[in-house]
């Protein structure tokens, strides 16, 4: 697994293992010793690579958000129509969230364990990602994809909410792949929010 930011090889090992443990046991329930033992090093050695436990949490969150933002931005830029951009964004969002489940999980659950200053920096990054979606959904509405009465912020929240639900079931070994789940999801919410015109277009694309 390659991490998208400027960290040393050893830092990257620590981030990946810590994310796994934070997900498995929770941030507070995971001790510095748990992490170091899983990496077959002493707890003191960890402090050479990170200033403290909180900085490991911060690194996990930054890696997770940067990875998601980069992947979704790239996916969007490859598509021409707004409909295809939304579909691709959903698929890649799901794919990244499911592939890097530990990061997605920590991002969702452990913001409160960051000090207020760091919390602010992560929230700002998350807001930028949310904005990307809101702009895309707005463009979608202007293009007549969504019914007039659909609240777009609510739609984004429900979309992310559904994705988070999926994270709690999904096993990488299972039969469903992110693309299939994204399609099933579009189908499920489809009749509720999409216009007849959009549904017809979707049938053609499949």
């Amino acid at each position: 697994m390659e991490l998208p930011i400027d960290v040393t090889r050893r830092q990257s090992d620590i981030i990946i293992e810590a994310a796994r443990l934070f997900r498995e046991k929770g941030y507070l329930a995971t001790s510095i010793r748990d992490i170091s033992e899983a990496l077959e090093m002493t707890s003191a050695a960890l402090y050479y690579h990170f200033k403290n436990k909180e900085e490991i949490l911060l690194a996990i969150m930054n890696v997770g958000l940067d990875g998601l933002m980069t992947a979704v931005t790239q996916a969007i830029s490859r598509e021409k129509s707004i409909w295809e951009r939304i579909r691709a964004a959903l698929e890649v969002h799901l794919e990244i969230s499911l592939t890097y489940q530990d990061f997605a999980f920590v991002l969702l659950k452990d913001l409160r364990h960051l000090s207020p200053e760091w919390q602010g920096s992560i929230i700002a990054k998350r807001d930028a990602y949310d904005n990307l979606w809101d702009e895309m959904l707005l463009e979608g509405r202007e293009a007549g994809i969504f019914r007039e009465n659909v609240d777009l912020e609510l739609l984004r929240l429900m979309t992310f909410g559904a994705v988070n639900l999926v994270i709690s079931w999904y096993k990488p070994s299972g039969v469903y792949q992110p693309k299939e789940i994204a399609d099933a999801f579009l189908e499920f919410i489809g009749e509720g929010v999409l216009t007849d015109q959009a549904i017809a277009a979707y049938q053609i694309l499949k």
Copy 2:
């Protein structure tokens, strides 16, 4: 606030205050001293009322689940048609979850901090509640309320998922009341899962 199970007055105080703190700071981040100081007593005094910290968590979960089960069961028994029973169950589920938010929150987030044995007892109780819903939704499908292709377990999961989303925004001081939110939710998912016949019936009932 009256608690529905057999606890002393002081135990009830502790349960309510602990639930508030567990929600605010998290179970592990809340110390026995935090709870006792909030109640203006010493940490040792707490141990007269509960054997240990875990038993407080268990009591919160039992109170929360019993309260939900009782309220929803009663609401269902008051309604005649399956459609009205489902609508009433949704409304009361929301109302209880929003009125006793601390309990709902702890129930959702802190199961992992219970020892395996206690976890089993809470999961069994939760399964009984889920079953109540599944039976009701099944009856609804047999009565022709839901489209044939709707997966009922998925519907329940998405319903609870949406409710959980609401819990994270809802402020009791706000303008929206549980009944209004339940109606808005029915409207939102309505066109996706309900049959035309059910929608028509719903319009009449409003």
